[in-house]
Symmetry: C2
Subunit: 303 residues, 2 copies
């Protein structure tokens, strides 16, 4: 176990709750709270209070934040660390990083919630030992993060994999899709709220053999096929509320092998290709710890 001089702060900033933790890493969490996501001001005051009181008792050396988005991740941008144009009411153009950095003056790494989850699984979950993987969350929304050569990818901003377009046969599924931006994109067809809107019942209340799940598996398989041939990951981890329906996994695997027909993955390796997260609901906070550790290591290398 590390000493208190290496205490890290970790935040998983979600649309429903902010999970805040202090420890030397995901296997040694000393303190943890869950703060409901209300207004930005109210939420961030509580987050800062938690870390400030811990920081006074035993100083943190670095922090990592995995946040819902979209985010501005360009370090030279005047709005670096902001949530930008989110559908989440009240959170448009919110500076998340700034107030935390002003209050806790340590190096802070900032990334998407899904890149953090991908990193969490890469460091201490089902992605250990791999150089490339994708983490896709299927819940209130759909998002994807990716690790290539051991690092989260960003590009111009960050991936928004929930918004890819996939075939949608309106003859067999007349639901128009509920993405406010794109209608029947992947998220508009396959998120938890899309399932609820299509079938008139909350997804978790649908029985295991309801036709909803075969349709859901179809959309997930085609979307995973697109991600597989675009990024060529060694593994895709499917997490989030909808994926707690474990019956989806064999259905997605079967349909994905069919859809790819020899490309990217075969029957022999499909069970290791599409997997649930090892850390279940803790991938994100584990990743936030990994982000904190990485920024600490990079600062120490630089000095």
């Amino acid at each position: 176990m590390k000493t208190d001089s290496q205490l890290l702060g970790a935040i998983e900033a979600g649309g429903n709750k902010f999970i805040c933790a202090v420890g030397t890493g995901p296997h040694d969490v000393r303190d943890r709270v869950c703060i409901p996501t209300t207004t930005p001001k109210e939420t961030l005051v509580k987050v800062i209070d938690f870390f400030q009181s811990r920081h006074r008792k035993a100083p943190l050396v670095a922090m990592g934040i995995g946040s819902f988005g979209p985010l501005d991740l360009q370090r030279d941008s005047p709005t670096y660390g902001y949530i930008t144009s989110t559908p989440k009411p009240g959170w448009d153009d919110t500076d998340v990083l700034g107030p935390i950095r002003d209050a806790i003056n340590v190096p802070i790494a900032f990334d998407t919630d899904v890149n953090a989850s991908a990193l969490g699984e890469h460091r201490s979950g089902v992605g250990v030992g791999l150089h490339s993987l994708v983490y896709v969350t299927v819940g209130t929304g759909i998002g994807g993060g990716a690790i290539l050569d051991g690092h989260p990818i960003h590009g111009a901003t960050h991936p928004e994999m929930g918004h890819i377009r996939i075939p949608h046969d309106r003859a067999s599924d007349s639901f128009a899709g509920n993405c406010p931006y794109h209608g029947d994109c992947f998220e508009g067809l396959a998120s938890g709220p899309a399932i609820e809107a299509r079938w008139g019942r909350r997804a978790e209340s649908l029985p295991e053999h309801h036709p909803a799940w075969a349709l859901e598996a179809e959309y997930l398989a085609v979307a995973m096929a697109n991600i597989a041939v675009t990024l060529s990951p060694q593994r895709i981890i499917l997490g989030g509320g909808v994926m707690k329906q474990r019956q989806l996994f064999p259905m997605i695997r079967r349909r994905l092998v069919e859809a790819l027909n020899g490309y990217a993955v075969t029957q022999d390796s499909i069970n290791e290709f599409i997997v649930p997260p090892a850390r279940e609901d803790d991938s994100g906070i584990a990743g936030a710890f990994a982000l904190a550790q990485d920024i600490l290591d990079s600062k120490q290398e630089a000095t």
Copy 2:
């Protein structure tokens, strides 16, 4: 200009022809031949003859190969450097790298043709100064390469972006798609041979305002939307024979902005987001030179 002691070999290995060049880089090509792609043995003998005779006169210090695929790019694999399961007759399971390495004993970098093209544009084309870009070729087939953080991406194998699934409205386009593996995937709907099969005429013979191009632009826009939100590149370069139809560019840009509806790129930046290659048909060979330079630099750093 560099001295002869830094002469590099470059190969763009295509399904129709192998372009072989010797020089200190793409701006200083000393010798170049174009060898038709016939059988693997006949083709590779001619390629090796060309480089051996140049190598005897003035030794090469490194080589780069950008090849059609699919390829085995896993360095620890017994079939590293092979073309694996290609639809190109006679080229299944062909060792491309091995015979060349046996004949010309210098460090040789091996990558996909499209990663080479992406790298070529990154180093000396429309990608100079960017950290992330995608190069998509639309011709006999469709393929994509990507640069992230300045380096080509590989993952488990390499991307096969031509095989993503996109919406296909059979009411307005009854053509079933001609991909032998996936039917109506992106390549099956939008490659040169798909256009020819759908309209009964070679793509290049269709007039500028033929409805073929509006449909082609639709498929290209949706596919580029998927690539944009999956990889978040700063720029997408569209090359290959079909993209010589320059009227496609404004049509794709208009439809892509509409389809993304605020995500990844906006009206303000679309003209710089979707662009033709600067090097036209020479992106690949420029990239092969860049691959050669990179492997030379990495060997020199290591010593």
